[in-house]
Each structure stands twice: as C-alpha cells, then as structure tokens.
Symmetry: D4
Subunit: 256 residues, 8 copies
Amino acid sequence: MELKNILRQVKEGSTDLVNAENQIRSMGYVPVSDIAKLDTFRKYRTGFMEAILAEGKEAEDIVEIVRAHNETAGRTLITRINEEQASAIRNAFKPENIEWDMHSRTAVVHDGTPALKTGGTVAIITAGTADIDVAEEARMAASEMGCSTIQIYDVGVAGFQRLISEMSVFEENRPDAIVVAAGREGTLPTVVSSLIDAPVIGLPVSIGYGAGAKGEAALLSMLQSCSILSVVNIDAGFVAGAFAARIANSIAEARK
Amino acid sequence: MELKNILRQVKEGSTDLVNAENQIRSMGYVPVSDIAKLDTFRKYRTGFMEAILAEGKEAEDIVEIVRAHNETAGRTLITRINEEQASAIRNAFKPENIEWDMHSRTAVVHDGTPALKTGGTVAIITAGTADIDVAEEARMAASEMGCSTIQIYDVGVAGFQRLISEMSVFEENRPDAIVVAAGREGTLPTVVSSLIDAPVIGLPVSIGYGAGAKGEAALLSMLQSCSILSVVNIDAGFVAGAFAARIANSIAEARK
Amino acid sequence: MELKNILRQVKEGSTDLVNAENQIRSMGYVPVSDIAKLDTFRKYRTGFMEAILAEGKEAEDIVEIVRAHNETAGRTLITRINEEQASAIRNAFKPENIEWDMHSRTAVVHDGTPALKTGGTVAIITAGTADIDVAEEARMAASEMGCSTIQIYDVGVAGFQRLISEMSVFEENRPDAIVVAAGREGTLPTVVSSLIDAPVIGLPVSIGYGAGAKGEAALLSMLQSCSILSVVNIDAGFVAGAFAARIANSIAEARK
Amino acid sequence: MELKNILRQVKEGSTDLVNAENQIRSMGYVPVSDIAKLDTFRKYRTGFMEAILAEGKEAEDIVEIVRAHNETAGRTLITRINEEQASAIRNAFKPENIEWDMHSRTAVVHDGTPALKTGGTVAIITAGTADIDVAEEARMAASEMGCSTIQIYDVGVAGFQRLISEMSVFEENRPDAIVVAAGREGTLPTVVSSLIDAPVIGLPVSIGYGAGAKGEAALLSMLQSCSILSVVNIDAGFVAGAFAARIANSIAEARK
Amino acid sequence: MELKNILRQVKEGSTDLVNAENQIRSMGYVPVSDIAKLDTFRKYRTGFMEAILAEGKEAEDIVEIVRAHNETAGRTLITRINEEQASAIRNAFKPENIEWDMHSRTAVVHDGTPALKTGGTVAIITAGTADIDVAEEARMAASEMGCSTIQIYDVGVAGFQRLISEMSVFEENRPDAIVVAAGREGTLPTVVSSLIDAPVIGLPVSIGYGAGAKGEAALLSMLQSCSILSVVNIDAGFVAGAFAARIANSIAEARK
Amino acid sequence: MELKNILRQVKEGSTDLVNAENQIRSMGYVPVSDIAKLDTFRKYRTGFMEAILAEGKEAEDIVEIVRAHNETAGRTLITRINEEQASAIRNAFKPENIEWDMHSRTAVVHDGTPALKTGGTVAIITAGTADIDVAEEARMAASEMGCSTIQIYDVGVAGFQRLISEMSVFEENRPDAIVVAAGREGTLPTVVSSLIDAPVIGLPVSIGYGAGAKGEAALLSMLQSCSILSVVNIDAGFVAGAFAARIANSIAEARK
Amino acid sequence: MELKNILRQVKEGSTDLVNAENQIRSMGYVPVSDIAKLDTFRKYRTGFMEAILAEGKEAEDIVEIVRAHNETAGRTLITRINEEQASAIRNAFKPENIEWDMHSRTAVVHDGTPALKTGGTVAIITAGTADIDVAEEARMAASEMGCSTIQIYDVGVAGFQRLISEMSVFEENRPDAIVVAAGREGTLPTVVSSLIDAPVIGLPVSIGYGAGAKGEAALLSMLQSCSILSVVNIDAGFVAGAFAARIANSIAEARK
Amino acid sequence: MELKNILRQVKEGSTDLVNAENQIRSMGYVPVSDIAKLDTFRKYRTGFMEAILAEGKEAEDIVEIVRAHNETAGRTLITRINEEQASAIRNAFKPENIEWDMHSRTAVVHDGTPALKTGGTVAIITAGTADIDVAEEARMAASEMGCSTIQIYDVGVAGFQRLISEMSVFEENRPDAIVVAAGREGTLPTVVSSLIDAPVIGLPVSIGYGAGAKGEAALLSMLQSCSILSVVNIDAGFVAGAFAARIANSIAEARK
C-alpha cells in the first residue's frame, strides 16, 4: 500500500515532510468491489475519520466495507444500523470486537486497536428524553474521535431549574465544545449558549407533531437564534459529535 | 335604531330577557354605503368589539366607517394605518378625539366617550426592541377593551437575567393574562410560560432574515412549545391583545 | 423530600410564605434513573400539571416515570399511548387505578387520589366525527385539571343548522372557555367565535387529503381567522384542553 | 378572412354545418407583429372569449393587440392594467369606446359593438371590503360574457347575520352560478355553498398577513371544504367570473 | 319525522310553499348515536346529496350511519372504503342492495330505491391509466346524482393523437360538464379546456414521485392554467363528479 | 395495422415520404382493453421509445400491455416493478426473454429481438453507493435506446481524489453525454460539469434525512448550479438515461 | 501568457497533445483586482464559455472584468444588466463593439472578433408573449456559442392550432436541440417534446400570480412531465441556451 | 456600577473567585431608556461580545445604545446599518472613532480602546464575487473578537483550479477555523471541508434566482453535506465570524 511507501521515503529522507503530507492528503482510497471507494485517509487530510452510514446499504456490503476499512484504520464507526444489518455484523465479527450503542443504532467494530484519547472534552445536553437516541450518536462520534464526554439529559426549559442545577458539573469539568440536542421548539441551545462559555453546536431532533414537526421548528429556531450557535441538520448526531470533537481536539492539541 | 326598540320592549315588559338577548346577538349591523356592513353589536354577542383594519381600505372609506361605528359605540380602534390614511383621519376628526400610538400605527377615534375600565390586567412582554411595534398594537387592544396593562420590553433569553430581574414586578401586580411577543427564534413565550402562573398567548413577530425569517421560526417554535401556550398569527398584535383582554375581563367580572 | 420540609417550615413559621412559594417555584424536580427529570412542581409554579407524552418513550420507562410522578402528585395523565405501552401500563397498575379514554389513546393512572374539582367549565366542540379522537384528548386534559366538560360533536358548517340547534345547551350551562376541534378547512372555530360569548381556542385536526391536508389548511385558516381566536398546534388536544382549563380555573377561582 | 369564406360556403351549401364548425374550431388565429398570435376564434371553440392580460406586456403592444382583436370581435376585455398602460389605452381609443372598472384595473374597449346579453345570471359575494377589487374583475368578466350580475359585498362569517339577511335577494332573483371571493381564512364559500342551491366557485383573495397570508389559507381552506365547491387560483377574478358565466350561459341557452 | 309534517301542512294548505321550503332548507338533521349528525336534507337545500366519507370512521359506525341515511334518502353513496369497512358493509346489507366500484373503493347502498335520472351528461377523461381510480369516484358521484356518464381514459398529451381521436364521441353525445383527471404534470385539463365547448373541472391525482409529486404539480398547473378551468383538491373525485353533475343537472332542468 | 398500409403505399409510390412520415407521427396508438392506449409510434415521432412505468398498475395489466407493445416493438422496458408485478412477469414470459436489473427494479421483456446499437456512448457517474439503484435505471434506459454505457460509482466530492483518478477512463472512451446521480447535497454534477467536455444531466436521488432530505437539496443545488447543467426530477433515472441517450444517438447518427 | 507557451511547446514537439490539453483544462484563470478570478479557459475544458452575470456586481467591476476577459477571448456575454450597469458599459466601450438585446437585458462586448459559427441549430419556442424576455437570453447564449437560431413565439396550448401551424418551419430547417420557455402552468414543453424529434430543454419562466406563481408551477410541471424533458431553473435563459448549444455543437461537429 | 463592587470585593478578599465569576455571569445588564436592556457582560459569560443589529432600530436609539455600550466595553460592533442610521452614527461620533466596512454595512464605534488581539486566526473563503458582502461581515466580527483574518474570494468550484491554487497560502499560515460563504448551489464548503484540516463553518448567501433562490439551496446543500460542516443561517455573517473566532480564541488561549 502506498501509505507505507510514502512513510518509508520519509524515513529514508528521500522525500520531505511537506511533500509527503500533501501526497497523503490528496491521493488515497481503497476500492471495495464495485460498490464503494473508501476514503481511508480522510483523517490525515481533514481531521475527521471516515464513518459508515449503514442506511441504504446492503448488509453484506457493510461487512465488506468494515473489513476493508479496519485494515487501514483498525476501528470503524457505523451509524444508523437496522435489524438485518446488525445481525450481519454480529455474524461477521467477534463480540469482543464490537461496541454497540443500542439507543442510537450505532456500533464500532475494531480489530483490537484501542480508541484514541486526545484529551478533548465534549458535553452532550438534551432537552428531553426523546432526544437521547440522537444525542448518543453524537456521543459515540465524539468518543471515537478521542474525546471524553459529559452527558446531561432531559433538562429542557419547560422546567428551567433542572438545567441550572445540572450545569454545576461544568465547574470542575469544563467542556471544550457542547452539543445541545432538542426537538419540538428547539429552545435549549439558545439558552445554553447564552449561559455557558464554550462553543455550542445545535442538534435538532426529529420529534414533535403538527406544524414544524420532525425537527423543522427546532432547526429554524436554532438558525434564528439570538444567541451565537452553529447548527447541523436534523438528527445528524454523527456530524454534531464529530464537529464538536474536531474543535475539542484542536484545543487539546494546543494545550499540549 | 333597532337596539333601542329592543331595550324599550324589555323595559316595558313586552319581551323577555332571553329573547331580547338573542335578538341582539343575531341581528344587528350597520351598512356603510355599498362597501361595508358594520357588525356594531359584536361586543354584545362575543365580548369582542369590532375594530377597523385599515390595511387595504381607501382613506375616505375608513373615515366614513369610523363615523358610522362611533354613532353606536362612541369609540373606534383602527389598526395598521398608513401615512395617507393617517392624514385623512387627522383631517376628519378633532385632535382631542384621537389617541395615536405611533409605534404600532394604531389609533382610537372617539366622540368623548371614555374608555372602558373592566378591572382586568394584561401584561405585554417582548424579547427584543424590534418586537415593540407589534407589542404596542396588543397593548392598545387590551387597553381599549378595558384592561390596565403592564409592559416589560427587551428581556429575551440571550440575556436571561434580564427577564428574571424584571419579572419581580408581577409580585405586587399579578396579570390575569400575558402576551409575549418575540421574533427570530421565538423562545421567550416558552420560557415565560414555564415560570409564571398565568395563561400566556404567544405573539410571533415578523423579524429576522434567512431560513425561518419573518416570524416563521417564531410561530412554529411557539406551536411546538413544550410549555403550554396558545398562539396567534405573526404580527397579529390586535388579536393577541384582544384575546388576553377577553380572558382578563372574564376573570375581573368573576371577581366582582 | 424537600416540598415537605418547606411546608413544615411554613407551618413552624421559620419561613414566610413568599419565600416558601419562591422556593417551590424554582427548585423542584425528581430524577428518574438517567432518562428523565420530572418537573413535579410545575403545577405550583404555572398552574399546569406535568403530563407524560408517551410517544417516543420506552414502555418500561413510562411505567417508572408514572410511579415517580404519582408519589408526589397522586394522579398522572398519559397521552398518545401505543399498544405496547398500554399493555405495560395494564400490567403495572391495578385496573381500578387506571382511567382509559380509548378514542384518544389517553389514560390517567392514580393511587386512589380523586380528580380535582375546580368549578370551571370547558366546552369541547367538533366539526366532524373524525375530530372526536383529538377532542377527547382535550376533554381528558380539561377534566384532569378539575373542570367539568360539555361535548358537542359533529356540528360543522356544511350543515350549519346543527350547530345553531345544539348551542342552546349553553343557555343553561355557560362555558368559561371553548375548544373547537376541526380538520379539513377548519371553519368551525371562526363561526363559533363569532357567535358565542367565551374565549375560543382553535384546535386543528390532522384529517383531510390533498393540498392543505393533515390539518395544514385548518391551522392556517384558524390563524387567519377574522373572528378572534387563539390557536394550538395540529392534534395538540392536550395543550388546547389544558389551556382552556387554565382560563376556566382562573375564572372559577375569581368567582369564589 | 377565412371565417367569412367558411360562412359563405355554409350559406351556399358547399359545406355542411359540422364541417364548418370543425374548421372554425381548429384553425383560426391572428398574428400581431412578432409578439402575439391572437386566438380570436376561441369563443366559437370553447365558449370563452379571448381576454388580454395586461400584466407583463408593453403598453404599445396592448394597444396593437386590442386593435387587432376588435377587428374580429368588436369588444376586448383587458385585465390587470397598470398606470402606464391605462394612459396608452386612453390615448389610443375614444372615451366613449372604453368602459373602465377602476377597482379591478379592468377595461373593455369596443368599436360600438354592444355587450352580449345571454340571459344568464351570476352572483358575486365577498367576505370583506378588501375583496371587492378582485370580485369586480369577476363581475366584469361575467358581464362581458353576457350575464347579468348581482353583487353582495362584506358579508363574511365574523358577522354571520349579514349574510343571512342579504341572501333574501336571491328569493326573487335566482343566480345560475355564484362566485364567492374571500381572503384571510376563506370561510365564506364553504358557508354559502352549504346554504344555497347553485354551484359555487371559490375565489381566494391575496389579503391577510402572517402564516397563510396572501390568499394561501383561503385557497387551501376552499380546496379542503366540507361543502362542495370548485376553486380558481388566488386573485383569478377573470377566471372565476368567466367560469361562472360559462355555466350560466349553458343554463340560459337550455332555458330557451 | 318533521319533513312529513311540513309536507302535510303544505297539502292541507296550512303553510305556503315558500315557507315550507325554507323550513326544509334550514332545519333538518338526524342524530346517529353520539357520533354523527346526518344532514339528510342537504339535497333539498343545496342540490348536493350527503355522502359518507368512510376514511377515519369506525366500520360499525358507517353501517349505522348508512341505515339512518337510507331511511330518509333510500340510497347512500360511501367513498374511500377500506377492507375492514367493506366487510362490515357486506355483512350488514344484502348483495342486491349494494353497488360496488372496486377501482375507487366506492359503494352505493340502497333499499331498492332506483338511482335518479336527471337527463344531465358528464364526461370523465383521464390522462393515464393510474388516474382511473380517482376518475371512477367522480363517475360514481355524477351517476348517483342522476347523470349519464361518458368515460375516455388514458389520453394524456404525451401521445396527443389519442385525445383528438377519442373526442369524436362528443359529436353525437355532447357533455354538459367535463371532469378531467390527471396526475404528474396535470397538462390534460388545460388542453381539453382549450378544445371543447363545455365547462371543465380539473381533478389532480396524487401520482408521480420527486418534486411536485403526489398531485402537487398537477394541482398548481391546473390553478395556473392559461385555459379557463375550475379545480378541486387532489384526489377529490367525489367533489369533482358532484360539482360537474350539479352543473349538468341545472342545464338538464332548464332544457325541460 | 395501419403502419403496414402506410409503408405499402410508400413502396407502391401511392404516397410520398413526407406525407407518410407525418401520418406515422400523428396517428398511431394501440388500445389495450379499456385501461390503456399504447403510443407505439412514439419512437418514430420523438426519438424516444414508450416505456412502461409499473408503479400504480395492476400486475395482469402490465403483462397485457407488454404483450401488446412487443407485437409492434419487439422489446419493452418496464420500470419500478414491485414484487407482485415481478412474479406476474416471470410467470407470463420465458426466462430467456427477460433481462432483469435487480438494483433498479427494471426489466426488459423481448420476443428475441436484440437491443438496438446506435454507436452512442453514455457515462453514468454516482456520488455514493446509495445512488446506484437510480443510476442503474438510467443505465438500462440508455442501453435499451442503443447506447453503450460507462459506469463510475461512489466518487463524491467528500473524497475528491476518487473522481479525478477514475475520470482517466474518459481519455480513451469519450462519452457523448453524462448522467451524474447524487443525493444529499447533490454537489457532484456541478463539479463534473466544470471539469469535463460533455453535456451533463443532473439526476437527484432521494436519499438523505433532515432538512432538504429525499433529494430536495440535491435537486435545488443542481438547479442553482454555477456550472451549466440540465436536470431531471428526483429519482427519474429513466428520464435521465433516455435524455442522455437521445443526445448521444443524435451525435452518433451525425458521425455516420 | 501560459496558453501561448503551451501551444508553442506543442508546435515545437516538446510536449504531446494529451499533456497540453490536460494543462489547459486544469490550470488557467485570470485574477481581476481582488474581486474576481476569471475562468478564461473554461471553453477549452468544458465546451462552455465563461459569461458574466451582472446581477449583484458593481458597474465598474463589470467593465474591468469584461476588459480582462476580452483580452483572452475577444468576446464577452453579459447577462441581467441593470440600467446603471448598462450606462457604464456604454461609456466604457465603443457602440460598434457592443451588441445589445434589450428584451433580455443581455449584451455582447467584443474587440472586433466575430462570433463563432459552429453549424449547430437551436430552436427557441415560447408559450406566451411574456416569456419572450427569458427566451431572448437563451437565444443570445446559443448564438454566442456559435449556433444559428429559430424563434417561434406565443404558441401556447390555450390556442393549440398556433403551434401545429408554426411547427411546419421545422420541415426544412431541423433543429438539433429545442428550448421551450413557458410560465404559468408550463404545459408547452411537454406537448412539444411529444411531437418533435429533437431533445427538448424546458425553461420555466417567472410569470403568473397566486399559487404556483413565479414559475413554480411551470418548473414542477416540467419536472413531472410524462414526455421526456430535461429542465433548467426558472428564468435561467442563459443555461438553457448554452446547454442546447452544447448539444447542437456536438452534433454539428460530428456531422463534419 | 455593580461590576466594580464585585471586583473590589475580590481584591479585598471579601469574596472568592468562583462566587465573583458567577455573579458577573448571571446578573449584569444596562437599561437604555425603555427600549433596550444591554447585556454588557455577555463577553464574560459566554465568550461572545454583544453586537448591535441595526436592522429595525431607530437611528437615534442606535446612537444611544452605542454610547451606553461603549461606557462598559470601549468598542461596539454594529451590523446591517442603513443609510439613515449611518448618517446618525457619523453625526454622533468623531471620524477617528469609527471603522467602517462599506461592503457589509458594518461599523465599529470605539472610544480609542484598541481592538483585542487574541492570537487566533480565521480564514474567510467565498465562492463568488457576490458573496463578498456577507463574507466581510464575518471578517469584521472575527477581527473584532481579536482574530487575524485571511481572505480568499471568488474560488467557487465552477473553476476548481482557482481554489487549489489559492489554498497554498494555508501552508504557512494555518487557520484555526474557516468560514466558507457561498450562494446559489452552496457547493464550496463541502469541497473545502473535504480538503482542509480545520473546522469549517458554512455560511449560505442569499443570492441566486428561481427555485432554491435567496440562499435556500445553499443552506440545504450545506446541511446535507457529505463532508463534516456546521452551518449558520443565510447571510448570518456576524454569527459565522463570531463562532469561528470563538473556536480560534479557545485554541489560541490553549496555545499560550
């Protein structure tokens, strides 16, 4: 594989570092039969790992893609796994090599390679109990990208005192970035961002019925927020968690 | 006019009260040339007065309608008055017979009849400075329906401490109903409704730009609220104020 | 539990009433494992009880939450219960402690504590037969908040004479507030509000097909109403019923 | 011109009537420079006349098109005329050859040819004063297609008694078809259609603000109506009036 | 029953005809347990019969409503019947008393009373094969209202020659009104209306996928039509058929 | 059949070619019982074949339509086939006469007639693995219209180097037209069109969740593209493939 | 400039053709102060020229950009020019170097370099007179890309005979591609595509009022078309004309 | 003012640091007459400064608010300033105390206090020339929050080589966070995020016409991005710049 060649050239001094980095950043991918082309070097290029969105993929294809990915990366995060895909994964890999999060239908398959530890910290806050599934997907992504995580669940503004009370945990354990998941009216990220000294990523959740249902009101409310937020798409737990971790990792690296 | 006849019959005993009330409730209106049919008895039938929405009406027609209305009611509330209509009103009526609210382009024209005093109290709260115009329309409506009003402006959740601090006014002066006006993400009614012991009417305001602009995010957010609210349309200050006053008047009447 | 302590202090005179009330209003909630934080004191703070929206919650979590809630409140209203959740509730509680409304998939679970009786009266009117399910959710909420209820169903304006005829019931039994549920074109709240002397809360219902289906036309029609209405979200029977009861209870309290 | 030839052949017996009618129906149009191709025979083919929508056309082009049209038809209806176009029309034709309706920005230009009289009757009803402009466009179209018209304006359901009272005019003068114009919540056509024995065409009007504004709520409400209606687009006064006249003319013809 | 009383009074001369007709028009309905209030006299008041929309109703309620309706009307049209409701109808009534249309999930249940024959003629045209289900609902409604019907199916403009060829049937058998059903781009009503001398009612059908799917493009296209059309909601076959029949019946009556 | 008569007349010289072509272009279709009218001559008239959209059709009707179509055309493309329809096709035709594409639920049924070979070349590119189903429908259409096809799958811009690398295949094998299928943000057609010297048809795919899901963002993004593209509807693989083949066939014909 | 160097190397044989072409395709752009980076070599890379969209640019910046572009290309197409920008262009360049199209607010500025002539032919058809402005933008783009153009204006389906009659021009002068511009219901491209043997690009135009206005109905209707079309965005005359010319040029080149 | 008291107590040791910080975080605001309540301590609480959105505020109110704000903060950022407001600012403050950015209608008014320098670096990239106005608002915000900024403008993917070439600036000058502004199809943030090792904030810009215009396609495209992005609302330059600066400042602080 080319990556090894490049690295050997670096070791031998036959290429300089800038050149090697550029090569790694622009060239690598691993074809998986005809159906996929794995961007295994994305982590080196952008700071984000490749993750497998199971939705819309055949169960056997996922297994094949995970195998190919683990060969270069050692660990693979898979999101939005359905029943049939979960069975295929269970059959294909040993139990000790799979870490499941049943709430969020997410799993990590690994070959024994331990998870990264970057020193970054990400907090995940939810407005309600029904937001936990999406929040857990964010937590899994942040965790897999090397961050430690703090969870505070069901502290929406209908009972405002709950948030104030629970936030005391931050006095000892300051998060580098915060993901706030909320459905229905999506108020919580606006309130959190007006109270806490860390960048807040709003994560709208597809709950609620009637006008503005399925996260629409929550998304619009976060985009219109008078507080300063950035936002990801409805239910995009992976994106929110990875983006928060990306920030936390930069800060952690700078701390070193 | 028929109302007087009905009342005289009541006085004379030639009709009973239930019958008289039913007649009043179902029959009265005053035609204004060919263009309007004034529902002057709405107040007796529904507890709401007739108000004149100036938007889309000719200036001279408004003057004519106001005159006709004042003949039976003594006072007329006019909303959403533009420059040209305002001039026509100024020319047609004496200054001492007009009460303007320039913020909300609203006026009351009267023939000396004083405003009603019902004993009800309505609070009007806004999230920002830009919500004040719509809030003032609500205040004028509540006031014209006989309520005393309390205003608390610019206490949105981006600076949450402002709301908490200002709400202390309610300890001595409990409102019977509260209108909360908010644009952009429309969070404030949700928060107020979770903190205060009075029915809250959410009033979305058409400010903000981008996705969910012009009050759309605020309206959806209020409809999706985890707190218990009822809502009126975007910028519908008159409806919000009148509805709040309707509640307050019922309570005030029961107090008597 | 803290509430008892506060009340004992009041009894003993070691705290004054304003202080006690403030404490109750701002501080109480009951954590239920990691998944929920019950706002059991909402009733004291806002006049609305906490209710459990079953939708999106695990069956066993609902049972656990209901148990925790009943410990402080004695009665718990649960809305939007699906088959599996209903079974779990049936297995967990005795039949004599459950009051079901099968139309609206709503239940009250209690420990023998009787429902409140406030003296308020709420009327529930529907345009069609298909609106009854949502209307019943409103009725359950109003009833659980202590109001007596009047139902008038299937009196939409396509056969206008039905409404006029049925409304005679109000001559003896005046409602303090009225919920009007309607799907499709949502005309009925506008008509009722123009005929009756009580505040009307429009409750759009998600029936109808084609453009404006699923309650969209009904919601927009109510927001645009020429009569004076406030509105709740599509199918939000609980919110409509609770809001109407909130008004009725204020009036009933003032009557005392 | 070909039409005359066809008619002469009919007179001479060199063609039969079915054949002549088919030729007329499928073949005629008059080119106006490069910019327009006038469908002057539409009336013979479909029962509807060609009308000129002024919106988006150059003032001088309109004058040229009207001239060309009048050569075969004698009268031309022009809708949605702006200031500049109105001046051009005034300059191009004699005052006695123009019939203006200033409300609806509509005019008929003729060469002395009198309007058709078919014996059909169309009623035009509006919910509010602001709907009159669009209603007048409908009236002009129905009138130009030969119908006599009845107008009943400002009888919306917020003051329901007005409609009932005014409808007595129909007892002597039965309309063959009814156009009901309404903005905001668009309730009136539903109510009229449930009370009157004639086909009702709903005409939504682009008034109102907030959600469902500009006729959206009115259109959806009419499409969802529980009464039986057909509908035209928002502000499409010409289409509503012409469609109603088309029905009335068929009935009138059958009466003969 | 009151209708008989009124008619007897007419016979006896104790009431005059105008009075009797007014009474019938404004007062009658038949309550069906608590769930429905049948508007059995709608036909006398508006020219439209009451029909039962099965969607959203319990199977046993439908049977009960049909029974009540047949007592005064002899025949009942039921639309949008699902499997379970169809079984209930089959069990409750004799086969010889039910007329099914399986395409459109529509049925007529009668007590031997034959269908009306008014002499009106309605044509039903579809653009594609997939529009037939909705078109058949329109045909059933027109037929039940007494019209004879002509069907021309699958003649959309992608193969324009099919329409031209099939329309020759109208030369001998002129329709009084035409329903044109079309999904996807909804072009056909525009083309038919520009070719045929009869009022056209556009009936959008909920087929198609992607942007503008489920009849949205068809509906908008018909509302924007350059030809003169009126429109009903997507899939509203019953409304289209009943409205067309209403026109045809007026013409047929005038012919007599 | 008329086509043969026309062709015989051409052979015999009793008609000239222009006349014959016009007749073929405007007149032919084959009725299939009452449910369909096959436009079998579309290919001669427009360069596109008739294809059968299975969605919304009865299984037995499809078989009947395919039989009728094959009689004049020899081969029939069927798209969007569901399980039940697939069984009916398998039972009705011999295996050697059916070519399935299981990804896209598409099949060709033939009577031994081989597929056309026009010499045109169409490339099909997808952004992700989940776009392959729709892309395959495009490939089947292009292939059935006589083009050879090149597939490049899973080369979206998140790993941009994949596209650059795979595009080298075009150096030897230049496509005449390119279909680019993409869901989610739909970026790939914009990038391909800015890099390659061939007309690009954007094919949005209904994947993705949250705001802009189901192909909406992809469609809008392609319509707004700064590169020069034309676009087809979401999931309209057949249209994209046929349109690309139509271009490629014109070029191939000109090359001859 | 680099292009000349590359070409010289080709001439001298110091580079091969494939290499030279690749260099040209991937590398060139011309910076214009800080505000723009002109992609002057797009024509070599994609077959489309760079055109200047004036909308949103400062007048003086446009002049500067045109100058820079003409240095490498000799001719520059500018679209959507407003009054102020037009003055700046008139002041900056000699009259004989500007070709205006006033309808579409489009201009070509050149340095005497004549327009390309490729031998391709593009037809531009409009449904109405109001579509001509957008159609002319398409014609300018096709013309500037070297095609001869055929215009057929105002032949919409409301007067179907006009289209049939005018299409006879295609018998002598076959177009390689056709742009069909239509607003309101957007029917014409569907009809044209079902009648003519050339690829049709649908161009929706932002006319019409009410639901589906501003080209929305036209766009959706074209995307849903039962005929085979590709589509560009509303009012995107330049894209439609350039895309049609791109096809026509490929065919013309193959003819050589 | 309270802040000084708190700080003095800290100095004197009469309060501890945690307590002092909490007080500052939760309590401070400065009322400006009745119209505004300035959250002057937001910076201490959340890391974001208070900025004045001029849109919708009276010119004199802005001046008053700026004065009040400068008393505690020394510098005030004002965004979306219109002509009239700009004059008022020019009249109220000395030229040397105002820093204008005319592109983005943004200004900083200060009392001589220099801008902060945090050591963070933010890059601002635009797809086109028309995105520069919004991008400059982001740059002003980032700059005012203490970051140095790098601008790369007009490097959209229609000419992809421009981006690659310009990005070489990052090799020496690594940004801590990147704002990518793009209108129309909004592709650029997706591409940048897939190539660069820094968190990317997508900033949709309200340019483009037709479907998806005014930034809608750009916003949806960024929310659906296959790359990992977070997003702010359309034209929300201030939010994007402040959020990017917030990240950069955390990293810069950690570097110290």
